[in-house]
Symmetry: C2
Subunit: 342 residues, 2 copies
């Protein structure tokens, strides 16, 4: 068995309380007992057991994180931001993924709650109608959404303004002369952000008097391939959109690959705009145009917001606050002004 403060106390010839004090308020122990105890700690290779501490304190100094998948760079960056900020504040991070499955959100949160995490940072399929968030609300566990941006409810979140960001991106395409602009997205039901971005697309189109096209909804949110028969319709320059607006960068890069395979050139035949601004997009040739959101900062801010809520939740339960971070439309060579294909 690993040594506990008990063996340390025995070894040092003091009481367990003294050992505990040395660990928590070193100043409240006399110098020579301190050295005795430290010596015993050293000799036994003692390491405090947080399980005991946490049980006693009713707090774990641990936050839970639940996102769809780390295969999407954007969530990996966000988790990285969370972890860095957590480490600075002596919090640990417990991580779980859902693979975009709504039922797995609930299971993941249940497990985190059983571990008694002090709070949760998460991205859910639909922030408005989420039984998982209902549980968190009911249990009064502080949480912060990332990427989700609830409209109706007042659930705490850190995100960009998805609607405005999409609006800006599409407006940029329109300003370049594009009229047939189509959106490509993963399943809307698994991503409320994608839907909000679609609404931004719609508003931009309508505001400029352009008829919106039906969105292309593909099965996966990450690496994907357009159905070949669908892609075939892109052969006709009059039928295909002159610009594609994709709900994330992985889809944008995937469709660019598909278009190339079809013999079409980006941006000459089709302009492509992504969303997320993943770092690798900048290394592409042509450089991917995309709406940049600061994923690592989103994670960092979410963690700080969460910790604030946790530590203010002494007596009354304090919900975390919401933050909208600025986005920027990154212009790369994957987009160019519209030219008549005829």
């Amino acid at each position: 068995m690993r040594p506990s403060i008990k063996q340390v106390a025995l070894e040092a010839g003091v009481s367990i309380a003294t050992v505990s004090r040395l660990l928590n308020q070193p100043d409240s122990v006399s110098v020579d007992t301190a050295s005795k105890v430290n010596q015993a700690i050293e000799a036994l290779g003692f390491r405090p057991n947080f399980t005991g501490r946490n049980l006693r304190a009713g707090r774990s100094h641990t936050v839970g994180v639940v996102v769809p998948t780390l295969s999407n760079t954007v969530f990996a960056q966000c988790l990285q931001g969370i972890e860095t900020a957590a480490r600075q504040r002596d919090y640990s991070v417990m991580f779980s993924a859902t693979e975009y499955r709504q039922q797995d959100e609930a299971a993941a949160v249940e497990l985190l709650l059983a571990h008694r995490v002090d709070g949760v940072i998460l991205t859910v399929a639909d922030a408005e109608a989420s039984t998982t968030l209902d549980v968190l609300d009911r249990e009064r566990i502080p949480y912060v959404l990332v990427y989700n941006q609830p409209q109706q409810s007042t659930r705490p979140s850190v995100s960009v303004d998805n609607h405005a960001a999409a609006y800006d991106a599409v407006t940029h395409l329109i300003k370049l002369g594009h009229r047939r602009i189509q959106m490509l997205a993963g399943q809307f039901h698994a991503s409320d952000r994608a839907l909000q971005r679609y609404h931004g697309y719609l508003q931009a189109m309508q505001q400029h008097g352009l008829p919106p096209l039906a969105p292309i909804e593909v099965a996966r949110h990450t690496y994907t391939s357009l159905a070949l028969e669908y892609l075939q319709t892109f052969r006709d320059p009059l039928q295909r959109p002159s610009a594609l607006f994709c709900s994330n960068d992985l889809l944008a890069l995937s469709v660019m690959r598909d278009l190339r395979a079809l013999g079409l050139r980006v941006p000459d035949d089709v302009s492509v705009m992504g969303f997320d601004g993943i770092p690798l997009g900048e290394l592409m040739d042509p450089m991917l145009s995309s709406v940049e959101q600061p994923s690592e900062q989103i994670g960092g801010l979410a963690l700080r917001t969460l910790v604030t809520a946790i530590e203010e939740t002494q007596d009354g339960y304090q919900a975390a606050s919401s933050h909208i971070l600025p986005h920027t439309v990154r212009i790369g060579a994957s987009v160019k002004p519209f030219t008549n294909p005829l």
Copy 2:
């Protein structure tokens, strides 16, 4: 305060032992008491507290993961693989990053040990000379290295054969007629894999009677830029290498961007070979040639290996086993046969 088995017992009119039994061996409880207790659990919204359970059991059903950074896709994929496998086995995952700083490895592991994780999966700077691993060995905490591939020591690991993989990649370049092949890597002292890959490069060169070139060691392991003055030397077709072998894909993609900025074409002027085989490399144009390693499987296998070691560590401490997974050299258009620049 959240309800404990105590309130459940009170509510159901049974002892806490009965509640505990229902939770752990439901069959050992009579049907009608079971229903009474279940009703109480429902009514109170009881959720078992793992902290208490873990303290008592001396086990946490949690594994720790320590990698350099999630900004490198390869580690994100690996963590994703770990998490998926862990979830299947009802293990939770605590995650920490080191940003390639060796002192942070120790701190991260210390924190995990304080949380009494049952085992650790990690990538360290140098698996042979790692005080962090010494701690784990001394404390008899099961662990599995990922990506690290210790040569001398018998430390358990899951990786590809870095030396052989690099050898294969460079041999491929040589077979294409390249003679001036240079390696580009992050700081070797922060990545023993990079060094092993360099040795593979050396062997391939020497075995084919080619003079190896001094490796280019850049400061960062991820998104980077070659020093401009250095890159300038690439202007001279006779001075520059005809092929670059990069220690990872992020460096490969970064240098491709740099070369483009310089007006050089890949692969016409310089062929580029990466290492890792990140999914995004396949979406590039030209498609990135790279040594593919199965990152998600590495993570999954590491987790399974670790859990096996954990659960066999009942009495005697059982170290985990090592595994070498197969690599494949992915050939993309970033590499082409050597042509005389004159």
